[in-house]
C-alpha cells in the first residue's frame, strides 16, 4: 500500500507538466525538451517568493504559475514561432538548447546550491500502517484539481474547442477563420502554468537546484508518450504509470535505477504501441 501512496505522490508531481508537454505537442507537433527547464524555473519562482520574500508557499505557487506561463509564452514568441514550419527534429534540438540557456541563467543568478521550500513541519497522517505526509496529500489534491480543470477547459469551453480545433488541423482551423496565432498563445500560457505548477510540486518533494531540469524531463516526456501524445488525459494516466514503475523499481531493484525507468518506458511504448495508451494512430498525409 505504501507503494501506491508514494507512486501517486510522484505521479502527481509530473502529471501537470506531462499534460503541458502534450498540449504543446498537440498544438505544434514538436517535442519540447525544455519542459524540465520550465519546471525548474517554476520551482525557483516559488522558492523566491516562499523563502526570499518569506511568503507562504501558495503565494509561491501562484508566482510559479505566472512565471511559467510568461516564460513559455515568451519562448514560444521569441524562439519557436520564428522557426515555425521547420521539422520537429530542429525544434527539438532548439528546445534542448533553450533548456541549457534557462538552466544557466538560473545558475548565474541563484548559484548551484541546493535549496528547499520553507515549510512548516507537520507530522504525517497515519492510516493503519500507511504513512501519508500532509504535503503528499496536498500535492495529489492540487495536481488532480489542475488536471481535471484543464480537461474541463479543453472539452467544455469555447476556448477549449478552439484549442482542439487548432490541434486537430492547424491550416484548416486557419481557413475556418480561427485566430490560430492567439489560440496557440493561449495554449502555451496554459501549458506554462502547468509547468509552473509542477515546479512548485516538485520543490515540495525534491531539493531545488538548476540541475533539476534534466531529472524531471525524461519522466515527463515518458508519461506523455505512454499516454499517447496529444491526449491530455493519457498524459495524466502516463504519469501514474511512470510513478508506479519508479516506485516498483526502487522497491525491487535499487533506487539508483529510478532514473532509467523513463527511458525504459519510452522504449517499450514505442516498440509495442507507438500511438500510446489513448493516442490515435496518426496517418501521415
Amino acid at each position: 500500500m505504501q507503494v501506491v501512496v508514494n507512486a501517486l505522490a510522484s505521479a502527481a508531481i509530473i502529471a501537470p507538466a506531462a499534460v503541458g508537454f502534450t498540449l504543446t505537442f498537440m498544438l505544434f507537433r514538436y517535442a519540447n525538451f525544455a519542459v524540465g527547464a520550465f519546471v525548474m524555473l517554476g520551482a525557483f519562482a516559488a522558492w523566491t517568493v516562499n523563502v526570499t520574500a518569506g511568503l507562504p508557499l501558495w503565494a509561491g505557487g501562484i508566482a510559479a504559475l505566472a512565471i511559467g506561463a510568461m516564460t513559455v509564452a515568451l519562448s514560444d514568441r521569441l524562439v519557436f514561432r520564428p522557426l515555425q514550419g521547420r521539422t520537429g527534429a530542429t525544434l527539438l534540438l532548439v528546445s534542448v538548447a533553450l533548456s541549457f540557456v534557462l538552466e544557466n541563467v538560473i545558475r548565474f543568478f541563484y548559484g548551484s546550491q541546493i535549496k528547499g521550500f520553507d515549510l512548516p513541519l507537520t507530522g504525517p497522517l497515519m492510516i493503519g500502517d500507511l504513512r501519508i505526509t500532509r504535503e503528499a496529500l496536498a500535492v495529489v489534491t492540487i495536481s488532480g484539481i489542475a488536471i481535471l480543470s484543464t480537461a474541463a477547459l479543453l472539452t467544455l469551453t469555447p476556448i477549449g474547442r478552439a484549442l482542439r480545433a487548432v490541434a486537430d488541423n492547424t491550416s484548416l482551423a486557419d481557413v475556418r477563420g480561427l485566430p490560430v496565432g492567439s489560440i496557440q498563445t493561449v495554449g502555451m500560457i496554459i501549458a506554462g502554468a502547468l509547468f509552473g505548477l509542477s515546479g512548485t510540486l516538485v520543490g515540495i518533494d525534491l531539493a531545488i537546484d538548476p540541475g533539476l531540469s534534466w531529472a524531471v524531463t525524461i519522466p515527463i516526456i515518458a508519461a506523455a508518450i505512454f499516454g499517447g501524445l496529444g491526449s491530455p488525459l493519457g498524459a495524466a494516466l502516463g504519469a501514474l504509470a511512470i510513478g508506479f514503475a519508479e516506485e516498483l523499481t526502487v522497491m525491487f531493484l535499487a533506487p539508483a535505477y529510478k532514473g532509467a525507468v523513463g527511458f525504459m518506458v519510452i522504449v517499450v511504448v514505442l516498440l509495442l504501441r507507438p500511438q500510446g495508451l489513448l493516442g490515435v494512430a496518426v496517418d501521415r498525409k
Partner: protein, 258 residues
C-alpha cells in the same frame, strides 16, 4: 442585373506555378443573389481561382474586392469577416471534433474563444455561447444533419460532410459561398438534396454562390450565369443556353463529354 451590388469583384488575378500561369489575368464578378457556375476541363484553373478568391493562395497579380472592400492582401480567415466562405473539393472537417462543434467554430466573433472574455466576462460569454449553440443547431437542421450533431465529424459520410460544410457556411453568416464540386463523390439522392438546398439558400436567405461543378445537370439547374475557363483564362460567359451553344466552349469542354 447591374443595379445589384457586386459581391466579388476580381480583376487581373494571376497565379503562376513555376513559369506556368495557372490562372492568367482572370477577371471575375459575382453580384448579390447570383448563383454563378464555374466550369471548364480539368486543369483549367477553376480551383486555383477559388484559392485566389478565398486567399488560400496569394495571387501574383491582380486585385480582389469582397463586398466592396479590398481583400487583395487579407489573410484567409479575414475573408469570412468580409462575408466570403468556401467549401473544399474534398470536404475537410476537424475530424476529432463533433459535428456541432465544427459548426460552432464557424461562428464569427465567438466571444468565448477569446481568452479575455472567457476569463473576465464569464456571464456574457456563457450567454453568447448559448445563443451560438442555438444558431448552430438551426444551421444543422436546415441541412438536415440535426440528428448527427454529437457524432465526431469523422463518422459522417462524404455527402454528409458536404452538408456539414454548408451548415458551417450558414453559421458564418457570410453572404458569399464558394462551393468547390459540392456534388462530386456524393450519393445521387444526396446530390438532389444539396442542389435543392443551395437553391433554397439562394432564394430564401439571399446567399450568393459561386459553384465549381462537373455535373452539367447541376449547373443548368442552379446557375443564372456560367463562366467557362480553359487553360487559365475565361473563354466564355453567359447563361447556360448561351455558353452551351458557344463554339469555343464546345470545342474545349462540352464537346469532350459528348
Amino acid at each position: 442585373m447591374t443595379a445589384l451590388p457586386l459581391r466579388i469583384e476580381a480583376s487581373g488575378l494571376t497565379k503562376r506555378f513555376g513559369g506556368i500561369a495557372v490562372v492568367d489575368a482572370v477577371s471575375f464578378q459575382a453580384h448579390a443573389g447570383e448563383i454563378v457556375g464555374l466550369i471548364g476541363p480539368n486543369g483549367a484553373g477553376k480551383t486555383t481561382l477559388f484559392n485566389l478568391l478565398s486567399r488560400v493562395l496569394r495571387s501574383d497579380a491582380g486585385t480582389l474586392l469582397i463586398n466592396g472592400i479590398d481583400a487583395t492582401r487579407r489573410a484567409p480567415h479575414e475573408l469570412a469577416t468580409l462575408g466570403l466562405v468556401r467549401t473544399f473539393q474534398l470536404a475537410r472537417e476537424l475530424d476529432r471534433l463533433t459535428v456541432l462543434e465544427n459548426v460552432l467554430l464557424a461562428a464569427r466573433d465567438n466571444r468565448g474563444e477569446r481568452l479575455f472574455d472567457a476569463l473576465c466576462r464569464p456571464a456574457a460569454t456563457r450567454k453568447s455561447e448559448h445563443a451560438m449553440i442555438q444558431q448552430a443547431r438551426e444551421a444543422l437542421s436546415i441541412v438536415s444533419l440535426a440528428p448527427h450533431e454529437a457524432k465526431p465529424a469523422a463518422a459522417l459520410s462524404g455527402g454528409q460532410k458536404k452538408l456539414l460544410e454548408l451548415a458551417r457556411c450558414l453559421m458564418s453568416g457570410a453572404d458569399i459561398i464558394l462551393l468547390d464540386e459540392i456534388a462530386a463523390g456524393v450519393a445521387p439522392h444526396l446530390v438532389e438534396e444539396i442542389v435543392d438546398l443551395v437553391a433554397r439558400l439562394n432564394r430564401e436567405h439571399g446567399k450568393t454562390f459561386v459553384v465549381i461543378e462537373h455535373n452539367v445537370g447541376v449547373i443548368s439547374r442552379l446557375c443564372s450565369r456560367v463562366v467557362v475557363m480553359a487553360q487559365g483564362s475565361v473563354i466564355a460567359e453567359g447563361s447556360f443556353e448561351t455558353i452551351s451553344r458557344d463554339a469555343n466552349v464546345i470545342a474545349s469542354y462540352l464537346g469532350q463529354a459528348a
